[in-house]
């Protein structure tokens, strides 16, 4: 495969991942509940894993795969910790008991 197609594939993947990060970030902003924000943060972590994998290809270094593993580990611990706090009521659950958003 020529280098141009290689670069095109990498750029296209990066653009798709960036668009996905924007969508997940919009959900973090909109909420409405704390659990929604945590799950969107988890999604951002998964996108970070994918982006670190892409960076390993771009930089030609396997060190970025260690970064991917670290991001996955930190994202898992963050989600578990937030779940514990939300279930215990230590952090406010956001607006609860009201109707969910209307269907799109």
């Amino acid at each position: 495969m020529s280098d141009m197609i290689f670069d095109t594939v990498l750029a296209a993947s990066a653009v798709l991942l960036a668009a996905a990060a924007i969508a997940a970030g919009a959900r973090i902003v909109r909420g409405p509940s704390a659990a929604d924000r945590v799950i969107a943060l988890d999604m951002l972590g998964l996108l970070g894993v994918a982006a670190a994998g892409l960076a390993a290809l771009v930089a030609g270094s396997t060190a970025f795969l260690d970064v991917a593993l670290g991001v996955a580990l930190v994202g898992f611990l963050a989600t578990v910790a937030f779940a514990g706090y939300i279930a215990r009521g230590t952090i406010p659950a956001g607006h609860s008991g009201t109707a969910a958003e209307p269907e799109p």
Binding site: L47, V49, A50, G53, A83, I86, A100
Partner: protein
């Protein structure tokens, strides 16, 4: 040849990641969003990592990529289950089209059972905490 397979895996994984994020943004209630983030998100990230390994092809890359994929496959269902339970217990609203709540009466739910141990002020909950 392997580079074409790697390219397909990379692009496919990125597209699945984008679908997962659109699901997180667009689906109507928290539990569906959790579903999109944990299932489709892991599938997308795993495909991208496998694509990286196929592209590169070295043993070190394969080891690390497969390790990361296995780690994601093991941990993300656990995280999704925990945050789903936390969301239910904290009283996140269900979608109005939900026909049956199988956890009704099984788990306490803030805002529905007022004497449940998950009041938002957290006083009684904090008293139980170690």
């Amino acid at each position: 040849m392997s580079q074409w397979i790697g390219a397909i895996l990379l692009l496919g994984g990125s597209v699945v990641c984008l679908f997962a994020a659109i699901g997180v943004l667009r689906l109507p209630d928290f539990f569906m969003r959790m579903h999109a983030a944990t299932k489709a998100g892991v599938a997308g990230s795993g495909l991208v990592l496998l694509g990286v390994a196929v592209f590169d092809g070295s043993a070190a890359t394969w080891t690390k990529a497969v390790l990361a994929v296995v780690f994601l496959l093991v941990t993300t269902p656990v995280a999704g289950h925990l945050i789903g339970r936390a969301g239910y217990v904290s009283g996140v609203a269900l979608w109005r089209g939900t026909s049956e709540d199988a956890l009704d009466g099984v788990l306490p739910r803030a805002g529905v059972d007022d004497e449940a141990s998950t009041s938002i002020s957290g006083d009684d909950a904090n008293a139980r905490a170690p």
